[in-house]
């Protein structure tokens, strides 16, 4: 691997130690975060962020919904900031917990969401690595992830820490509201910490298959990444890493939606398709149907799953990556490894510079200006300030 890819891989190889060392430290912070009366007042949880942070929200939403029994949804920061506080405002907005996720704490739209939703009375909680950031100032509560920073935008450790923290928050809410027992809560916390070993095994399993995929596909300019439920979050993260590192057009899609939409994309032989799934996933039966569909289309595929390879598939068209078996909700953590490894291998093979080097046409993204310096509206009343 060249110097270009090394920071990205450092992040991935550091994941197991981070999971081992940080889970219970984060749990200690989460435990003291939300007062019990506020926990009992909750009726709704909104996860919001941009980029990887929003993907983190999508990745954990199904688990938090199941555990807490509350209405849980992940919303883009634009929707959370501009489309929720329009009159008439919900009467008991205090019953809304807004988890505002931003590693830097400086993403303008997430800061705006925290400010505006706090102003209408929602309980806002910043999940950030920057306790002195604008987001930390804007939100009522803050959890400082305290994960050592890495290369800009490819922070796998930060993404993993956000996933772990969001799960821990969900577990804590479910425990305090007595949806689950203390022992069940502790078992789920321990399960997160125990993912260090499977993640380590995943990293080891990834290298050869991802290198093969890169050898075959690095000349292509598009890719589809498919998954459902928590695995859609994994597909979104993988797509984001491919875009960042290679500059190709990579998009993530739910597998049901695929049958309605991207299925019809022309030149299927030029569209590598990476599928994230597991044998016991709720969407497993549809995934089996999808495998046949992709084969009929003639799409080159990489199936990432805990099942053994189907030896009846033509090996030249289909790649298979077998990862350790895990509960479905925790798969986004396991799937960070192939996402990073595939992006790094592809970028290496194609000779790409991550983020186009923030140079030339992309110079506007230097120091995060593109997302940090966007105008922040204080509320619906100053909507037209820039227009006049």
């Amino acid at each position: 691997m060249s110097d270009r890819s090394i920071p990205l891989l450092d992040h991935a190889t550091g994941l197991p130690d981070m999971i081992r060392g940080e889970t219970m430290r984060l749990e200690g912070h989460v435990r003291r975060l939300i007062p019990t009366p506020d926990t009992y007042r909750l009726r709704q949880i909104i996860l919001t962020g941009c980029g990887d942070s929003l993907i983190g929200g999508y990745s954990v939403a199904t688990a938090l919904r199941a555990w807490t029994g509350l209405a849980v949804q992940a919303l883009p920061a634009m929707e959370a900031s501009r489309y929720l506080d329009t009159p008439p405002v919900q009467a008991d907005a205090r019953g809304i917990l807004v988890l505002c996720i931003s590693n830097s704490g400086e993403a303008a739209r997430v800061v705006e969401a925290a400010q505006r939703l706090r102003a209408i009375g929602a309980l806002t909680l910043a999940v950030t690595n920057s306790p002195a950031s604008r987001l930390a100032q804007a939100a009522e509560l803050v959890i400082d992830l305290s994960i050592p920073p890495g290369s800009t935008g490819a922070n796998a450790r930060g993404h993993a820490a956000a996933l772990m923290t969001l799960w821990l928050i969900g577990i804590r809410i479910a425990e305090v509201r007595m949806r689950i027992t203390m022992e069940e809560a502790d078992a789920r916390r321990a399960l997160i910490a125990r993912q260090a070993d499977p993640v380590e095994r995943s990293l080891a399993a990834c290298a050869a298959v991802c290198a093969q995929a890169a050898d075959r596909w690095s000349g292509h300019r598009n890719a589809d990444l498919l998954g459902s439920g928590p695995c859609l979050g994994a597909a979104q993260f993988a797509a984001a890493k491919l875009v960042e590192t290679t500059g190709i057009h990579a998009s993530a899609q739910d597998i049901e939606e695929f049958h309605h939409l991207n299925y019809f994309i022309d030149r299927p032989a030029e569209m590598p398709t990476i599928v994230f799934t597991a044998t016991d996933a709720a969407a497993a039966s549809r995934m089996r149907e999808l495998a046949g569909t992709l084969h009929d289309l003639g799409r080159p595929t990489l199936l990432i799953t805990d099942a053994a390879a189907d030896t009846s598939s033509p090996p030249n068209q289909h790649l298979h990556l077998q990862l350790p078996t895990a509960e479905e909700w925790v798969l986004p953590l396991l799937h960070i490894a192939p996402a990073i490894m595939l992006a790094a291998s592809w970028a290496e093979k194609a000779g790409c510079t991550p983020f186009r080097g923030h140079a030339g046409a992309w110079a506007g993204a230097q120091q995060g200006r593109l997302v940090r310096e966007s105008f922040i509206q204080s509320g619906p009343q100053d909507r037209d300030e820039r227009a006049t």
């Binding site: 435990r31 003291r32 019990t36 009366p37 305090v176 007595m178 203390m182 022992e183």
Partner: protein, 133 residues
């Protein structure tokens, strides 16, 4: 000292008389005082009549009426049920002493020994010690 484990299925009274008797049988001392103790802060030990199981529910319901699980306990490290459990266990007590004579527990006709769970389901331990000759 003898001890045995217990997996409580939920909150309420769980009869441990037979397990205590089995523990005593392993101790050489035949005359004295048996102490049944629980090394937990959200569980207790008590003696109650076993004959009407609805009576057992009354006993548990009543302490829940006296100390309901509220959301404004100052102890918020764990759950409201856990916070209330600390108070209930402190009121009821974590041990009971029973006379041992000729190697037998001197329980009355309407007395059984109950482990009282206030924060279940949990995996618990009951300790049994005899002081005597």
């Amino acid at each position: 000292m003898q001890s045995f484990g217990l997996a409580t299925p939920g909150n309420g009274l769980h009869d441990v008389t037979e397990q205590v008797a089995e523990a005593i049988a392993k101790i050489v001392v035949k005359e004295g005082i048996v102490i049944v103790s629980v090394p937990h802060s959200t569980a207790a030990v008590t003696l109650v009549s076993p004959w009407d199981t609805l009576g057992l529910e009354d006993v548990h319901d009543e302490i829940c009426r006296l100390v309901p699980a509220r959301i404004d306990f100052k102890h918020q490290h764990d759950t409201p049920q856990d916070a209330a459990g600390h108070v209930k266990a402190a009121i009821v007590g974590h041990s009971r002493s029973i006379i041992l004579a000729e190697g037998k527990l001197m329980l009355g006709h309407s007395q059984r020994i109950y482990f009282w769970e206030f924060d279940g389901p949990r995996r618990r331990t009951v300790q049994v010690q005899v002081v005597g000759t």
